[in-house]
């Protein structure tokens, strides 16, 4: 990693920490609300992190009403109000249920699509077998190129 990149990374971390500190109430809701996403990110070993992204997006949509609740309250950056929101069971149920829905969507859609693709591939294999047989029927067995052919494209007599 070059020095410029390291500096940029440090700068971003610094800005992130400062911002998180400045908007501590929102940060608190986000942190506790997005815990399922953090867990999904840890569990998802794939390079694309598609599961973490799916869960994360759904999780964010579950956290969003409570952030709005905080921001629309009279004390938008109040730790007490943020704590009040977090301590309500409804908050946890909604945020985590929607995150769980993210899990469910990821599992269902992935399975569905994979099954569909597998069936399509199997159909293609059958089609290929059919087309290969058609080629052999129309052009004879040596169309496969496995037999040495003469200039006219016919097997040498001893290859028959």
């Amino acid at each position: 990693m070059s020095k410029a990149n390291a500096f940029r990374k440090h700068l971003l971390t610094f800005v992130f920490l400062v911002t998180a500190a400045l908007f501590g109430a929102s940060t608190m809701i986000l942190f506790f609300g997005m815990l399922p996403t953090i867990a999904a990110n840890v569990v998802d070993k794939s390079r694309q992190k598609s599961r973490a992204i799916s869960v994360g997006m759904m999780n964010l949509s579950g956290v969003m009403p409570f952030l709005l609740e905080l921001w629309m309250s009279p004390a938008p950056n109040s730790f007490d109000h943020a704590l009040t929101i977090l301590l309500q069971p409804k908050t946890v149920v909604i945020m985590y249920s929607i995150a769980a829905a993210g899990y469910a969507i990821e599992a269902a859609v992935t399975g569905m699509v994979a099954t569909m693709l597998q069936q399509r591939a199997a159909a293609r294999l059958r089609r290929i077998d059919f087309e290969v047989q058609e080629l052999v029927d129309r052009w004879n067995y040596y169309v496969d190129g496995a037999t040495q052919l003469d200039d006219a494209g016919f097997p040498y007599p001893n290859d028959d």
Partner: protein, 708 residues
């Protein structure tokens, strides 16, 4: 100085029955010949019917049968038909000119050509004559002593026969069958109307007993005597006259070989006529003139005509027969002349080898004959025999050359052959039909024996130009092993009279490409009788000779091993015959060819193209036009496109197989296939849902709604 002995390889023992038919020996291959039994009716054209059940033995001979025939025209006259045997090539080309000879003393030829036996689908060459022979003057030819008055013979036989020979000479025809048993009384008593019988149904002079032939021709086998000259006819007439007028036969009870031996030693005149017989009149002069053994001394027809006009002929310059000062002893016999020695060394090769090996023969020629030319020929014979090395055939080659050296004007003798230069053609034809050993002929044409023979005769001032050209061509044909060449080509080249001997069509007696294709048309009427190969070495060689443009361009194809190439060559050749012969319809053959061309379809890769070709062929196969079949199949552009499409198909095949392997390997573990795509889809789905939720919540809060 004594000539160093010539070393020879040990001679094989002579094979039983290897004696030469006609070469003064009894026995031989044609002795066992029996005419093919024929029955039913044979049609000659539309107007003459030959009754094969009515053989007329007195008019036929050992080889050819004479049958009663009848004109179906309004006159309904009786005719005489000679039905030729395929084994013995008739002189069919001279039929038309022979028919033009109008001489009452010569049996009139009405027509010649193909006679057809419809029931057995067999054709034969036939000569149709007027049925005006009457009874034969004598039933057989051997040992006759008729004791006729010479004046009577002069009036009743000599005059009409000379007239016949003159007419034949004018048409450039050699009769080749003048003998007593072939003279008939024309149905009249007292020899008032002597008629000479036929001689065209056999190879030249084949039917002649050896006694009627000059010595050199009598030594040759009957099938190999060659066409001869008018002088040979005159000789035969001389023998006939001698038998008619003599009262004693000096050779009574002797065999042909002994008579021939006597002729060689004492001359024909002394052999046939006893010194005790005294003849009056000028017939003696005529017989002496006709019976000279030396061709140069023998009377020509002009001399006979001059004699007939009463002119006295001045004696010719005689070339005295070379006689040895001391006789040579060979095999217990003594020889003073080379001609009988030539014959006997040929018949006793083992003993001859010792004679040559010991140098005795060379010394005899040098000291007793004192013939420098013959000595040179002797040396050349040894060199020529050694040209092809000293293999197992060396002795045969040496003996053959020695026989020519000793008797240059005699026949060419090799192994079991004894043939004249002209006669080799008809002998070869007979050998082919009778399935005799053709290897000997191949050796003759491939080796240098003929060159040696021609060189010797050229040295002796014979005109050999035509032989040189012919035999050079034969040698060149022999050098090419492919179809259309070889011994078959030689056969048809030397024998313009011979029909196509291919087993496929031989029974149809095809003599021209048109007759050949018509024979194929008849054959094709019954598909089950068709051979797997229509064109064989015989057919192709025959067609090359008869009309080279119908066969030679396709020789490569017809000789190819690949079935489709052979089939296309055959089709092209037959199409050319049909086109050049202007034969409009060959329905059976076209129909059969439609099946025969199966291998050609196989040359197209594309099954659909084949199907289309088959459909097109089926559409035209009943029209009888081979050209149409060829037009459909002989399409280079279609072949090119087919090949290009085949290459594309190969490429497609490879692509499909690659795809199958790729897909198959990925699909092998179903747990992973499609999951990446599924997750990506789930991200999109989650993203859409979450976006909708967020937008909904924001709108809800903006509108004053609350979740808590």
């Amino acid at each position: 100085m004594a000539k160093p002995p010539v070393k020879t390889v040990p001679a094989p023992a002579p094979a039983a029955g290897s004696m030469i038919d006609g070469a003064g020996d009894v026995g031989g291959s044609t002795e066992a010949f029996r005419p093919t039994p024929l029955s039913g009716k044979m049609m000659f054209g539309d107007s003459i019917e030959i009754d094969l059940g009515k053989r007329i033995p007195q008019y036929g001979n050992r080889y050819v049968g004479a049958f009663a025939a009848k004109s179906l025209a309004s006159d309904g006259r009786d005719l005489l038909a000679y039905v030729c045997e395929p084994q013995f090539t008739p002189r069919n080309r001279i039929g038309p000119s022979y028919a033009s000879v109008a001489n009452p003393a010569l049996l009139r030829l009405i027509g010649s050509g193909i006679g057809k036996i419809a029931e057995s689908h067999t054709n034969r060459f036939v000569f149709i004559y007027e049925n005006a022979l009457g009874a034969p003057i004598a039933e057989n030819d051997v040992g006759l002593t008729m004791g006729m008055k010479s004046e009577k013979v002069m009036e009743k036989v000599v005059t009409p026969m000379i007239s016949v020979l003159k007419d034949l000479r004018d048409y450039d025809i050699v009769h080749g069958g003048i003998r007593i048993s072939n003279l008939y009384n024309g149905g009249k008593e007292n020899y008032d109307f002597v008629v000479l019988g036929e001689a065209l149904s056999l190879p030249p002079s084949m039917g002649q007993p050896p006694v009627y032939e000059p010595i050199d021709r009598a030594l040759a086998q009957p099938t190999g005597r060659g066409i001869g000259t008018n002088q040979d006819d005159l000789y035969s007439l001389g023998v006939t006259l001698a038998m008619m007028i003599r009262t004693r036969d000096p050779m009574r009870g002797k065999s042909d070989a002994e008579i021939l031996q006597n002729k060689m030693q004492y001359g024909t005149y002394a052999t046939l006529l006893s010194p005790d017989d005294h003849f009056s009149g000028s017939i003696v002069e005529l017989m002496r003139g006709l019976l000279y053994d030396d061709r140069r001394q023998r009377w020509t027809l002009e001399e006979v005509l001059a004699w007939q006009d009463g002119r006295r002929l001045s004696p010719k310059q005689t070339t005295k027969k070379l006689r040895a000062a001391r006789p040579l002893t060979f095999n217990g016999k003594t020889y003073s002349f080379t001609m009988p020695l030539a014959r006997d060394i040929f018949q006793r090769p083992t003993e001859a080898a010792q004679l040559i090996d010991s140098g005795d023969l060379y010394q005899w020629i040098k000291r007793s004959l004192d013939d420098e030319t013959m000595l040179v020929h002797f040396d050349n014979a040894v060199k020529s025999a050694e040209e092809q090395g000293r293999n197992s055939l060396y002795l045969d080659r040496l003996i053959a050359r020695m026989a020519i050296c000793l008797d240059p004007e005699g026949p060419i003798r090799y192994k079991n052959l004894s043939i004249t230069g002209e006669g080799i053609a008809t002998a070869l034809a007979e050998a082919f039909v009778a399935n005799k050993d053709l290897g000997t002929y191949a050796e003759v044409f491939n080796g240098s024996l003929l060159s040696y023979w021609m060189t010797i005769l050229t040295d002796l001032n014979h005109d050999m130009a035509s032989f040189v050209t012919r035999f050079d061509a034969c040698r060149s044909f022999m050098r090419q092993p492919g179809m259309g060449f070889g011994l078959e080509r030689v056969l048809y080249f030397l024998n313009p009279d011979v029909h196509c001997l291919s087993p496929v069509v031989s029974r149809y007696y095809a003599r021209t490409p048109e007759e050949f294709i018509m024979a194929c048309e008849y054959l094709a009427a019954d598909k089950s009788s068709m051979p797997t190969k229509l064109m064989d070495r015989h057919s192709v060689a025959f067609l090359c000779i008869k009309d080279r443009k119908v066969a030679e361009p396709y020789l490569f194809d017809m000789g190819a091993n690949e079935p489709y190439r052979y089939v296309m060559g055959t089709l092209r050749c037959l199409t050319a015959i049909q086109r050049y012969g202007k034969i409009t319809t060959l329905r059976n053959l076209t129909n059969w060819m439609a099946d025969f061309i199966e291998p050609v379809y196989e040359r197209f890769h594309d099954r659909d193209v084949r199907k289309e070709l088959r459909r097109k062929i089926n559409d035209v196969k009943d029209r009888g036009d081979l050209g149409r079949l060829l037009g459909i199949l002989d399409n280079a552009e279609l072949l090119r496109i087919d090949l290009a499409n085949f290459r594309y198909a190969m490429r497609d095949y490879r692509g499909l197989v690659r795809e199958r392997e790729d897909l198959g390997s990925r699909l092998a573990d179903g747990r992973y296939y499609g999951r990446r795509e599924g997750r990506e889809t789930s991200v999109i789905v989650s993203g859409v849902i979450s976006t909708l939720l967020i937008v909904g919540v924001i709108l809800m809060y903006l509108n004053g709604g609350r979740i808590l």
